[in-house]
Amino acid sequence: MSCIVDARGLRFSYQPGREILRGVDFHLHRAESVAVFGRNGSGKTTFLLHLNGILRGEGHLRVCDLPVAPPHLQHIRRKIGFLFQDPEDQLFRPTILADVAFGPLQAGLPPAEAEQRARRALAAVGIEEDLGRAPYHLSSGEKQRVALAGILAVEPEVLILDEPTTHLDPPARRALLELLRTLPQAKLVVTHDAAFARALCPRAVFFDHGRVAADGPTEEIIRRFGWDLGSPPETSPVPR
């Protein structure tokens, strides 16, 4: 399988003397689904924000065979669909249709084609009626689906989902899981939800103190680091 994300020795500090990423090595292949575990503050989201160039650290990083640097950033951002943790941050247009069409319009598509793409993406997530509603009047699950449609509309090759189940009740989680299973894109899912990760991702990585401490089958990672409420960790995390 070809490598769609290739990171080696990635380092980053928000401020001098306080390194958040301390040499991250990670690769993701096409159509692969990988869960990303780790304690709060271990660098997971910081790493993800490097993949579409929102943050720029040091080291080797290529996405879709392109270096994550100008002048490739706009192209890379069309290849990566980033679903943020709080859909309130992501829904900023007056209507559902306008919000989902935002990405295709930014990509330079004519308005008519952008609207068609938006309608197709909304249909894919099961929202086909009342597209003139304001997105912020929806339930959490619906907002999440509209936000997902917004990133699907640009037809990305990689989906990055940052704690996608945080605001969802169990039926909405199940619906999101079933939807994600039908999508062919490679997926990186930051989550504390072990059951969700087990059901969606055969592989997982564990972030610890700014590095990938482990990389392997999801069940093994969950058991090893006690990432399931029912079982304590088999080993201690990597010491500082």
Binding site: D89, F92, P94, I151
Partner: protein, 202 residues
């Protein structure tokens, strides 16, 4: 009246979805008439008499008149500063003008927003040739004032649950936290826009 359990932000979102004749009127007509009303208010001394007319229209639209009047009073602290300056300079007539004229103008706008969903107002303004950037900014402000309002409500609820009073100290500290949280949210929103190929509002 039953006590509201949820956040109280944006009663306008609820009010604007009523079924009265004013609600059903085309947004372009409502916007045009509001703009005309604002023009007359700014030009005519006796336009203060429009205030009862606004109240009657609100009643006809089945809106809570007192709540509308109270929300509109948010403009008074700003105009009161200038009114006070005029009063102190020995011009009480001008001081009165500086108080009622902004208030009556704001009443017209409040009525418009109470009978017309924001999306329709912005679409109407777009049809009239208003710059898209301006409308996007207005929508952003409206949208995220609501989000901040919800956050403020949650903070107040959490503080009350811990026995906090409504003292100046508690309110000031909460406001500072809300300001910082707003900045963080703005950073996240910008990142979300960048991730979808945007460069902020365009």
């Amino acid at each position: 009246m039953a006590q509201r359990i949820g956040p109280r932000h944006f009663a306008f979102d609820e009010w604007s979805r009523g079924g009265s004749f004013l609600h059903r009127l085309d947004a372009r007509w409502k916007l045009a008439l509001t703009l005309l009303a604002l023009l007359l208010t700014s030009l005519r001394q006796e336009a203060w008499m429009a205030a009862p007319a606004v109240a009657l229209l609100a009643v006809a639209a089945r809106l809570p008149v007192l709540a509308l009047a109270w929300r509109t009073a948010a403009v008074l602290p700003f105009s009161a500063v200038f009114a006070l300056m005029s009063w102190q300079s020995g011009d009480p007539e001008r001081a009165a003008l500086l108080l009622w004229r902004p208030y009556v103008s704001a009443l017209w706008v409040t009525l418009l927003m109470a009978v017309t969903p924001l999306e329709d107002v912005l679409a109407a303004a777009r049809r009239f040739g208003a710059p898209r950037l301006l409308l996007d900014v207005m929508h952003f402000i409206w949208r995220y004032l609501g989000v901040l309002g919800e956050q403020a409500w949650r903070m107040r609820t959490a503080a009350a649950a811990r026995g906090a009073d409504r003292s100046f100290e508690v309110s000031a500290a909460s406001l500072a936290v809300l300001f910082a949280a707003s900045y963080q949210r703005a950073v996240r929103i910008h990142r979300a826009q960048l991730s979808r190929g945007g460069g902020g509002l365009q």
